[in-house]
């Protein structure tokens, strides 16, 4: 064995666990986003599972590592992995019409993490009181759609009101469904915290 191993600075076991989980959330979002659906009332913004993963990441990982998870997701897309809606990739997409949503993902995941877990440590997901969970998810939803609308209006050079009616209003029922699904998942035994 080489002498240089004295200088090896191992990543601590706790950080390793958090990195592993952030990676898995980024990869899960990446694996599901290419499968998208056309919204009958807003054919220009695809319906995807991205925000469900944003919600779950905030609840499961807390603010810091949920933020890392979606920063990884954006980086993966930036360098060319086909991870955005419809299997797209590249800076052109991040600066494109749906880019506001993409940039909103890490911000929203951090917001949810902060609201759900507060300042002192992580609460096991199944023990978070439902009202607090719902408030957190609503706050995250607000962040995603605010970012999405602002991005759309900047990139397409149209007014904010027009942007909101084009990319926010049609998605409110979808968002409601996803919040309900997230609460159900968090309360089921699918997530075992270990």
């Amino acid at each position: 064995m080489s002498a240089s191993t004295d200088s090896v600075e191992l990543v601590g076991d706790e950080a390793t666990g958090n990195i592993a989980r952030a990676v898995l959330f980024a990869a899960a979002t990446s694996a599901t986003a290419p499968v998208d659906m056309v919204h009958p009332l807003a054919p220009n913004v695809p319906i995807t599972l991205q925000t469900v993963w944003v919600y779950l990441a905030g609840v499961v990982l807390g603010p810091l590592w949920a933020g890392v998870a979606f920063t990884l997701y954006l980086l993966a897309g930036l360098i060319g992995l086909p991870v955005f809606a419809g299997g797209n990739a590249g800076l052109g997409v991040i600066l494109g019409p749906t880019g506001g949503f993409l940039i909103g993902f890490p911000l929203a995941a951090m917001t949810i993490g902060a609201v759900v877990h507060g300042r002192d440590g992580l609460t096991p997901p199944s023990e978070v009181p439902i009202p607090r969970l719902v408030v957190g998810l609503l706050a995250g939803t607000a962040v995603v759609y605010a970012a999405g609308a602002v991005g759309y209006s900047l990139v397409q050079a149209i007014g904010l009101v027009a942007a909101v009616s084009a990319v926010v209003v049609p998605f409110l029922p979808v968002a409601g469904l996803k919040i309900a699904a997230t609460v159900a998942i968090v309360r089921s035994d699918a997530i075992v915290a270990r």
């Binding site: 064995m1 080489s2 240089s4 191993t5 200088s7 090896v8 600075e9 191992l10």
Partner: protein
């Protein structure tokens, strides 16, 4: 040298490993056998601190694992029972290089080790294949190469031969023999002694979490009674 002293590990109050003590000398090959669920995997995961025993301790080269994780992890190489659990990169070459990279070696040395390790498992030239696309036995070989490339002082392999075909098995056995000659200690977990006997200096059999036998050449009937396939 690996020294295990009163190792006890419980999953929800049930002891999967119960007060196990044993020693593996440098250059020694110990086969750790025992039927399914006897605690083999749970025991060896303590050798590099992946599990921390509830009682007892493991020392590597005399130092408690818990006190010096860096020493334990860099000097104990480990191959997981399910090879898929051990992969960290997308392609074969990148995966085998991961350990050496994290040891901070020079790029040349890393490339040399990767080539050598893939050669030992008969996977030379497969560097750019994606690990997700490998067949079962190919996966197992790459996992072994990943540990070999770290050039560890101690090598722990958890059922490494189950998926290997005849030639790969012989090639890996040859490499293990050579490593043992050069002073590396080798721990092989198995429940079937048939292929390993030529390599084993000692056989330790676990039964229900405790050492039921620790002998250089146990008899076939002893082994069978303990649920282990004799050579």
């Amino acid at each position: 040298m690996i020294t295990v002293d009163g190792y006890t590990y419980r999953y929800d109050d049930v002891a999967a490993v119960d007060d196990v003590s044993l020693t593996v000398d440098d250059g020694e090959c110990v086969v750790l056998a025992g039927p399914n669920g006897s605690g083999k995997t749970t025991l060896v995961r303590g050798f590099n601190g992946l599990l921390t025993p509830d009682e007892g301790e493991v020392r590597v080269n005399g130092r408690p694992v818990a006190d010096d994780l860096v020493a334990a992890r860099t000097s104990v190489g480990m191959v997981f029972q399910d090879p898929r659990d051990g992969f960290v990169a997308a392609t074969v070459g990148a995966d085998v290089a991961f350990g050496p990279e994290n040891l901070g070696l020079e790029r040349d040395e890393i490339d040399r080790r990767v080539a050598d390790a893939l050669d030992a498992v008969r996977m030379a030239g497969r560097e750019d294949d994606r690990v997700a696309d490998l067949s079962g036995g190919e996966r197992e070989r790459v996992a072994i190469a990943g540990a070999l490339a770290m050039d560890p002082d101690h090598l722990v392999l958890d059922e490494p031969f189950t998926g290997l075909d005849l030639r790969a098995r012989e090639s890996v056995l040859d490499r293990l023999r050579a490593l043992r000659e050069s002073g590396v200690s080798v721990v092989v977990v198995t429940h079937d002694l048939r292929d390993l006997y030529s390599l084993a200096d000692r056989v330790v059999v676990l039964s229900d979490g405790s050492v039921a036998l620790d002998a250089a050449s146990p008899s076939a009937s002893e082994l069978e009674a303990l649920g282990v396939r004799p050579p």
